[in-house]
């Protein structure tokens, strides 16, 4: 039931949430990444997400599988969007569910932190003043299977 997709279409958070849940689960968590109207105080009018779509789909699947390991269930659904997005539009939706809440929080956080570290996706901010710039990113790991350490995915911004 692990579900991971990189899509061009609008993300429906309710549909993503509906992919998880089970009679065994006491906790469900839905995280949404949303395009916000500013970046470091600079007004933003929208965001363009580029993706290496084929690879991103595979990496997202791998991240979801790793999260499922941490979660202890296969109830992980994650959808990342690419293309032009307006303010308030959802760029990523992550749903997880598990018997206990600690694992749900942990797995949800793991997915978003790993996305920021490894997913071959880039974003260009469009500023209200008319300029556009690629957002400074994170150098991805140089090998296929990064060592997953707790320290590696905690912290970070946005």
């Amino acid at each position: 039931m692990i579900f991971a997709r990189v899509v061009a279409d609008v993300i429906d958070p309710v549909e993503v949430l509906a992919r998880v849940g089970s009679d065994e689960d006491g906790a469900a968590l839905l995280f949404l990444g949303v395009v916000r109207d500013h970046a470091d105080e600079r007004p933003v009018s929208g965001m363009r997400y580029d993706a290496y779509a084929d690879m991103a789909g595979e990496v997202l699947q791998a991240i979801a599988e790793e999260a499922a390991q941490r979660l202890g269930t296969d109830r992980v659904a994650v959808v990342h969007r690419f293309g032009e997005l307006g303010i308030g539009e959802v760029s990523v939706a992550i749903a997880v569910s598990s018997p206990h809440r600690a694992e749900a929080f942990d797995a949800s956080r793991y997915v978003i932190e790993q996305i920021k570290q490894r997913l071959p996706v880039w974003k260009k901010e469009h500023y209200v003043d008319g300029a556009s710039e690629w957002v400074e990113g994170t150098v991805p790991p140089r090998a296929a299977s990064p060592t997953v350490s707790t320290a590696a995915w905690e912290g970070g911004s946005a």
């Binding site: 996305i115 920021k116 490894r118 957002v135 990113g137 994170t138 296929a144």
Partner: protein, 83 residues
């Protein structure tokens, strides 16, 4: 015998180079490092690529020492910013 590989450029790299895809012929036994050196050796705009870029070979992150085979897809991956 030469080894043809398909190189892909994304985001800032694509903007810098003005192209998103390029077929490159490498010598037998060439590695990712050899591919990078070959491209940067062409001068502008390819010398705008980093000396040690992150790369993916056939959609998996790879080291500079990774050997390349005929038909491999090598993507130059600028720092990522999903989420």
């Amino acid at each position: 015998m030469s080894v043809p590989v398909r190189t892909l450029f994304f985001a800032a790299y694509r903007d810098r180079l003005g192209l998103s895809e390029l077929m490159v012929e490498l010598a037998q036994g060439a590695t990712v490092a050899d591919l990078v050196a070959e491209l940067r050796g062409r001068g502008s705009p390819f010398d705008l690529l980093p000396e040690q870029p992150a790369v993916a070979v056939n959609r998996a992150y790879a080291l500079m020492s990774e050997p390349l085979d005929s038909g491999d897809e090598v993507a130059f991956i600028p720092p990522v910013a999903g989420g």
